[in-house]
């Protein structure tokens, strides 16, 4: 691909943006060409989101310049960016869940508030837009009735429907999607590229970079570390560039040390099926499943947060185990790391209070909390997991996503769990934090705890697990030990193309 002949579609020239004392972006140069997918990679806090905000007009006070086809311009607001053909698909979707697809498409078109709209025509147009992205549902469906991945397609359909798209920005679009759903989305991205759009794509997932990227820019601490075409860069170099050092995350080696069974699940009704398995001491057991596999529901049920407790179905160390609340499960040494950070970290509470929320009983005498012991323990665990917090008194909401997830893990570890349930623990977490989380989980298993890991990221299952179960609609359809499975086999098992 030679771009030397024509100026880039969009170009950032030595763009700098400071927030108070911190430099979010430091003289960043970036060229975006038509018909090219440009992947932005980097850890949380590297400056990716600031960069996107400048491109999409959400930030207008920065130094340096933005050029379109060589002509300098500055977007005053997101509306101006849209008029120049810049569309952004945000991580948090901007759809109104209680309205239909048609209404949401109409909302985006703006127009005057008092103008009449022809519902029939709008509905037809919305339906057409949905078909264009491969979404086959009625345009009158309420958005809240759609799955996350379908909502994302609606968002894309809506963006494309407005027309004139020249640059489409995707901000971690697959972080909430399973592998199969991601594939559907990646197809759309390729379709956009083929139609001559420039695409900026942000992701933490290596296999997406491998599949999509024409050009990769790695950001670290607000600076461009490197910009290369896909062929010039191998995976190891890419991870090193993002981290700034060699990764410590290695595939778990050697045969797993597997002890006695700790958690026994026998014919537990789940969705349309029944599940049986044994989880042993020191074992990391993986659960793979697509949306609707009930894998996450299984974790919640074992944690006492599900629909009903069934004592006769589950045994913990030989005794019936039917917790009626998460508190009861924790008292039996079973901890859960929730997938959604909005369900694990309490933003308005301090780092310290978040960390000891589940184990507070151990730091209490006569109802009063002993601050010193609590502080010492949290400091110790925080240092071990490289928790990046300004202080223990800071609000947890001020931490980056990766650090919030580390904090949630510290909370689980402080309860000294014998069984740790992980529900997609590194979704949307950067490479560095992901490695730290993996390290701690391995260490815990080494010490004899049992880990049950559900992940939508098949690479994660391959790196961590001693054994993997694939679930489909509440039944185990495939079981395999370490050494016998890889990404492709798991994917085939999930899709049902081979057992």
């Amino acid at each position: 691909m030679s771009h030397d002949a024509s100026p880039a579609l969009f170009e950032l020239r030595s763009v700098t943006k400071t927030f108070g004392a911190t430099r979010a972006l430091d003289s960043v140069n970036l060229e975006l060409h038509a018909g090219e997918v440009h992947v932005l990679a980097g850890g949380n806090g590297a400056g990716k989101s600031t960069l996107i905000k400048i491109l999409s007009g959400a930030i207008s006070d920065y130094q340096g310049e933005l050029c379109a086809r060589g002509l300098p311009l500055r977007f005053a607001d997101p509306g101006a960016a849209r008029r120049h053909g810049v569309l952004t698909i945000h991580q948090e979707l901007s759809l109104v869940p209680t309205l239909s697809i048609t209404d949401n498409v109409l909302l985006a078109q703006g127009g005057r508030g008092w103008s009449f709209v022809s519902r029939r025509r709008a509905s037809q147009q919305a339906a057409q837009a949905c078909l264009g992205v491969g979404l086959d549902v009625s345009a009158e469906t309420l958005v809240e009735a759609l799955s996350i991945s379908d909502r994302q397609l609606v968002e894309i359909a809506r963006a494309l429907h407005m027309g004139g798209a020249r640059l489409v920005i995707f901000d971690e679009p697959t972080s909430a999607l399973s592998d199969v759903e991601s594939r559907r989305l990646l197809d759309r991205v390729e379709q956009l590229r083929a139609s001559g759009c420039a695409v900026v794509y942000i992701t933490h997932r290596m296999h997406e970079i491998r599949r999509l990227a024409d050009r990769i820019t790695v950001l670290r601490d607000g600076q461009v570390v490197l910009t290369r075409t896909r062929d010039e860069l191998d995976d190891g170099e890419l991870v090193r560039a993002m981290l700034g050092h060699d990764p410590s995350d290695q595939v778990r080696s050697g045969p797993a040390h597997v002890g006695r069974p700790r958690l026994t699940v026998r014919e537990l009704p789940l969705g349309d099926g029944r599940v049986s398995f044994e989880l042993h001491e020191g074992e990391i057991l993986g659960l793979a499943g697509l949306m609707g596999s009930f894998a996450a529901a299984l974790l919640l049920e074992l944690f006492g947060a599900g629909a009903a407790a069934r004592a006769e179905r589950v045994q913990l160390e030989g005794r019936p185990f039917a917790p009626r609340s998460p508190g009861e499960a924790l008292a039996h040494g079973v901890a859960l790391l929730a997938s959604d950070r909005s369900e694990s970290v309490i933003a308005s509470l301090s780092v310290l209070a978040n960390a000891t929320l589940s184990s507070l009983r151990a730091y209490t005498r006569l109802g009063f909390v002993s601050g010193a012991r609590e502080r010492a323990d949290v400091q110790l665990h925080g240092a071990r997991i490289a928790l990046g917090a300004p202080s223990l008194a800071a609000d947890a909401g001020t931490l980056s996503g990766g650090n919030q997830q580390k904090l949630a893990l510290v909370r689980c570890l402080l309860t000294r769990p014998r069984v740790l349930l992980l529900d997609d623990p590194t979704r949307g977490v950067d490479v560095g934090a992901r490695a730290e989380v993996h390290e701690r989980v391995r260490e815990l298993a080494q010490q004899g705890a049992s880990v049950l890991l559900f992940s939508s990221d098949l690479d994660e299952l391959c790196e961590l697990c001693d054994r993997v179960l694939c679930l489909r609609r509440g039944s185990v359809v495939f079981e395999s030990r370490r050494g016998d499975f890889d990404r492709e086999r798991l994917l085939r098992a999930l899709l049902g193309t081979s057992a």
Binding site: S325, E343, I346, A347, S348, A353, L357, L360
Partner: protein, 335 residues
């Protein structure tokens, strides 16, 4: 100059500093419009403290509930109900003071716990539940009092009017101590504030209150006993409403079923003036104390300058909005 601004910004990161700004403004107003020096007289401050005490007790309990992202509209009516009950128990029924007080405290806590249970288990909205309790408790107070004030003169069992001496409890509460300087009600208010502070910042249940208000689902998945925590918050708020009701009856020396009308709104205003967010998960009793002083001094200044009640109400409303807007701007700048 810049370092000074930077220091000011650092200071305003503390929510207590932000709450103090409106208080200082109100004090400045009082000093400017001092009504011929009346504002500088100790008497003015003493009576202001006495006047905010009953509502201040309610505001302490309200803080606990608001921290859980709830609201308790029933406390004003509970003041009326508890005032009627303590008057009934001690005067016409002739129970010993101690028994009467304990019974009324239990009644307040039970009413609060009922609200809490309705919020916690069927997950009804706090606004609706406590609105219902507000109406119910007011009705109950009027029914028990027979539509009139419960005083020390009442119709005895044989149909004749009898008059008994005021219970010693009323006199004990409605006096001043420490060299005739601080009224007992004010001490009770400060004691309640200290108790609530202990609960919120030093006890495990306090952490749970913040956690439940900050993120209910996350708190549940962290093993916090979310439902009993909610019941506790409303029960303690009801208990403090009973304390306020007893104080109110003592000051009025009778049980008026109409008393405490609208107190819940003043209590909420004190909490909000302190900077505690109605969204829950943040705030504290220290802030509420500052808010109570701000509201108290504002009303004192207006009354010293002989503003009519109408003007006072309108000005209070306007200043409330101004103070909250102002604090939010400060918080944004500090962030």
């Amino acid at each position: 100059m810049t370092t000074l601004r930077w220091r000011a910004a650092r200071l305003l990161e503390h929510s207590a500093a932000r709450a103090l700004v409106p208080l200082l403004c109100v004090l400045l107003l009082g000093a400017l419009f001092h009504a011929d020096g009346a504002f500088f007289d100790w008497q003015a401050h003493r009576s202001m403290l006495r006047e905010i005490s009953v509502v201040g007790i309610l505001a302490c309990g309200m803080t606990l509930v608001i921290v859980t992202a709830g609201i308790d509209l029933s406390v004003g009516s509970l003041v009326g109900l508890c005032a009627v009950c303590v008057a009934l128990f001690t005067m016409p029924l002739g129970l010993p003071d101690g028994v009467g007080v304990l019974a009324v405290l239990a009644l307040g806590a039970a009413a609060g716990a009922t609200c809490g249970a309705l919020v916690a288990y069927p997950r009804l909205q706090p606004f609706i539940v406590t609105l219902a309790m507000m109406v119910f408790a007011r009705g109950l107070a009027k029914w028990l009092a027979g539509g009139q004030k419960v005083t020390r003169s009442f119709r005895g069992p044989d149909g004749d009017f009898v008059t008994v001496p005021s219970p010693r409890l009323f006199e004990a509460i409605d006096t001043r101590v420490l060299g005739d300087n601080v009224s007992v009600v004010t001490l009770i208010f400060l004691g309640c504030a200290f108790g609530c502070w202990l609960v919120l910042s030093r006890m495990r249940i306090g952490r749970y209150l913040y956690a439940v208000g900050g993120n209910f689902e996350a708190a549940r998945l962290s093993g916090v006993p979310v439902r009993s925590t909610l019941v506790f918050a409303y029960a303690l708020c009801g208990l403090l409403a009973a304390v306020a009701g007893i104080c109110q009856a003592a000051q009025e020396t009778h049980g008026d079923p109409e008393t405490g009308m609208g107190y819940e709104l003043d209590a909420i205003a004190m909490v909000v003036l302190g900077g505690t967010s109605l969204a829950g998960g943040r705030g504290g009793v220290g802030l509420t104390l500052i808010g109570a002083l701000t509201l108290g001094y504002l009303q004192k200044t207006l009354s010293l300058n002989a503003y009519s009640t109408e003007a006072r109400l309108m000005l209070t409303g306007a200043i409330l909005i101004a103070a909250v807007l102002f604090q939010r701007r400060l918080a944004r700048r500090a962030a």
